[in-house]
């Protein structure tokens, strides 16, 4: 079944999209030239949707969402094309007060390293109460009650003890749960989770993913989940975008993309996973390395590593176009078979 790109990209609910990024190109000027971090990135996060952003380190996942919340260092980057709408508003047109308002009330970001997001000298309880009171006009006692409640929601057994603790007294997994509690505390419409479990071990990771998923589904919060781990994204996200060297190369419903990946890069990414081959057999590594973003190759950025490349791939970058059930940016999408082996992986 062929579906038009615009159909697939449409948000699922009636409510307007939480985040739309349309054709965003962004660069960081440096003494050596401009690092072209994003090139023509188009993303839409519908209301109540959980969407994954996957790709190898340096492909632009964090820059994409930090641009949307204006968390990139001011004056150090340039938007060269495109636009962003966060709950219908343009973050680049906002002043500092508006931004603070949006970041606290509408959007919360959870980062990989929970320690850096907490103030090391203030007890957990005070920090939570502070966040709650910044967004709601409630009494101290009421804010404390809310704080205890959300800590309990995060399956923290002794909320009283945790509220009295300083950040360094908690394990990494506990700190991350506190931050997730904080992120949900002001009922945001959108949560951006940037590799929130990468530093944690698998048991704690599973708990945290569950807490994010259950809480988001219950409150109808949209989530952008950034990860380099395809397996994690496959367990959590309704839809996903695969990024390569600052461009989106494939996107669609998680199952459709992972069962029948059509971009040679997505296929290669799935093929190098050890869970898909016989023990000790050679893994299919991707030849070569990611392009230098100071001087990316002409045409398709994946071309120097792509086994399918032909002359057309040199001439012009491919744009997103429909493939069965999802969309792909590849000149040869009509001739490339969706990887059969990859579909075995999801069975």
């Amino acid at each position: 079944m062929m579906v038009a790109a615009s159909e697939i990209l449409k948000p699922t609910g009636q409510k307007p999209a939480a985040l739309t990024i349309d054709g965003l190109s962004l660069e960081f000027p440096t003494y050596a030239g401009a690092i072209k971090a994003l090139d023509d990135v188009t993303i839409e996060i519908g209301a109540s949707e959980i969407v994954g952003l996957v790709g190898e380190s340096g492909c632009g996942k964090s820059v994409t969402t930090m641009a949307a919340t204006r968390l990139l260092p001011e004056g150090r980057y340039r938007v060269t094309a495109g636009s962003i709408r966060l709950f219908g508003r343009d973050p680049f047109a906002m002043d500092e007060t508006e931004l603070q308002d949006v970041r606290g009330k509408l959007v919360s970001t959870i980062f990989q390293e929970p320690m850096s997001a907490l103030n090391p000298t203030i007890r957990i309880g005070r920090q939570l109460v502070g966040v709650i009171q910044r967004h709601e006009a409630v009494s101290e006692a009421e804010a404390e009650r809310t704080a205890r409640g959300i800590l309990k929601d995060m399956l923290i057994a002794e909320p009283e003890r945790i509220m009295r603790a300083y950040p360094f007294e908690l394990s990494g997994g506990m700190r991350q749960r506190v931050l997730i509690a904080m992120a949900f505390s002001c009922n945001p419409g959108l949560i951006i989770a940037d590799e929130p479990t990468t530093a944690l071990d698998v048991t704690v990771q599973a708990v945290i993913l569950r807490l994010i998923l259950d809480r988001a589904k219950r409150t109808g919060t949209s989530v952008v989940f950034i990860s380099h781990n395809i397996a994690v994204v496959s367990q959590l996200c309704d839809r996903l975008y695969v990024m390569y060297a600052g461009r989106i190369v494939e996107s669609g419903p998680t199952r459709a993309v992972l069962e029948a990946p059509q971009h040679p890069y997505t296929q290669a990414l799935l093929r190098c996973l050890p869970e898909r081959v016989e023990p000790k057999a050679e893994l299919e590594a991707i030849p070569g390395t990611v392009p230098n973003l100071l001087d990316p190759p002409p045409g398709c950025f994946y071309r120097p590593r792509c086994p399918e490349a032909n002359d057309q791939c040199f001439a012009k970058p491919p744009s997103m176009a429909p493939a069965p059930d999802h969309i792909v940016a590849c000149w040869r999408r009509e001739t490339i078979q969706p990887s059969i082996k990859a579909s075995e992986a999801t069975q």
Binding site: L213, P274, A285
Partner: protein, 341 residues
């Protein structure tokens, strides 16, 4: 035919004193590794899995003497590592090398690649500068680095290339055993694939044995012949990697495997993740260490559980079985042994 073990670890225990009493005297201890037995034969790979803080890194560091053991024995090629002295001890030590997770911090940023690679040889002494350089070129080639890389500094390399440098350095003394502490967890999957292929190639060519710590269960299943699952400083289950990881017997191994992210199964429900803080390793639990978190806990679990050959309730584990086919599977849980789980 019996293959003599390359490494035999018996009853290895590591406690870290926690200063706090009067005059800074230790009042309590962190029980990081508790009576671990393990064997590795030449050319074999043993994987170690278990949650963060369970003692994996401490165990391997105690094996190569980077951390002081409290009791127990480490025997390499029939020689007791801790009993040996002086030159003999250094020789034994050079049969084992370690590669860490973070190639960034384990390589001296001031040294060119050829010096980094041959540092262990330089320390051993007896080689001219020219001979060291020639050996560096050979080693670099065997890990897929190019000759022009030899004079560059580590910061000029990507994470994957730095890990190649670390591997070249580790094999420079021609060791029998390479210890790999999460060697690819800081790398992207496509780079991980390259490093894993390299390690498997070196194993085929040099007959290396590996002791690998990893959080990635599918990687351990792919890379290792056998696996040991650790919980609170103990091995709770061990055996052929495919068997243990495809049909785990110990309740902890089951929980661990249920929470591993996979394309093949959905996110587990909270109930299956057995939430709970890691048990305190300052005061060891009585009875089965896993009892507080175990959903199968029942009568008899308050007794200390021995690691017993699976399916054989009476016997204890034979540490040097005759051949691969006879590798024992062992479990530290009386209910798993009885087939109640």
């Amino acid at each position: 035919m019996t293959t003599a073990p390359l490494l035999n670890v018996e009853d290895l225990t590591v406690n870290f004193p926690i200063p706090g009493g009067w005059f800074g005297r230790a009042t309590s201890h962190v029980h990081a590794v508790n009576k671990v037995d393990l064997t590795i034969r030449p050319g074999e790979s043993l994987g170690i899995v278990g949650e963060s803080g369970c003692g994996k890194s401490t165990l391997v560091q105690a094996i190569i003497g980077l951390v002081e053991r409290s009791s127990g024995k480490v025997v390499i090629d029939g020689q007791d590592f801790h009993e040996a002295r002086g030159r003999r001890k250094r020789e034994i030590r050079q049969q084992m090398q370690i590669v860490f997770q973070d190639p960034q911090s384990s390589l001296d940023p001031r040294l060119p690649v050829w010096r980094l690679i041959t540092e262990p040889l330089h320390v051993r002494g007896g080689m001219s500068k020219a001979a060291l350089r020639a050996r560096a070129a050979e080693l670099a080639a065997s890990v897929g680095l190019r000759p022009e890389h030899l004079d560059r500094r580590p910061y000029e390399f990507s994470g994957g290339q730095r890990q190649r440098i670390a591997v070249a350095r580790a094999i420079s003394t021609d060791p029998d055993l390479l210890i790999l502490d999460e060697p690819t967890s800081a790398l992207d999957v496509s780079v991980q694939a390259q490093i894993i292929n390299l390690l498997l190639k070196l194993q085929r060519e040099l007959g290396l044995a590996y002791l690998m710590i990893s959080h990635d269960v599918s990687l351990v299943r792919h890379f290792c012949d056998r696996v040991a699952v650790m919980y609170l400083g103990q091995i709770v289950e061990a055996g052929p990697a495919v068997q243990v990881l495809d049909s785990p017997a110990h309740p902890y191994t089951r929980t661990l495997l249920a929470t591993v992210p996979s394309l093949k199964h959905p996110l587990p429900e909270l109930a299956a993740t057995r939430v709970g803080e890691l048990p305190n390793n300052r005061i060891l639990p009585t009875g089965c260490y896993y009892r507080d978190r175990c959903s199968f806990a029942a009568a008899g679990c308050d007794r200390l559980q021995p690691l017993v050959e699976f399916g054989d309730r009476a016997g204890t584990v034979s540490m040097s079985p005759p051949d691969k086919a006879a590798w024992p599977r062992s479990v530290r849980c009386h209910r798993a042994q009885a087939g109640d789980i």
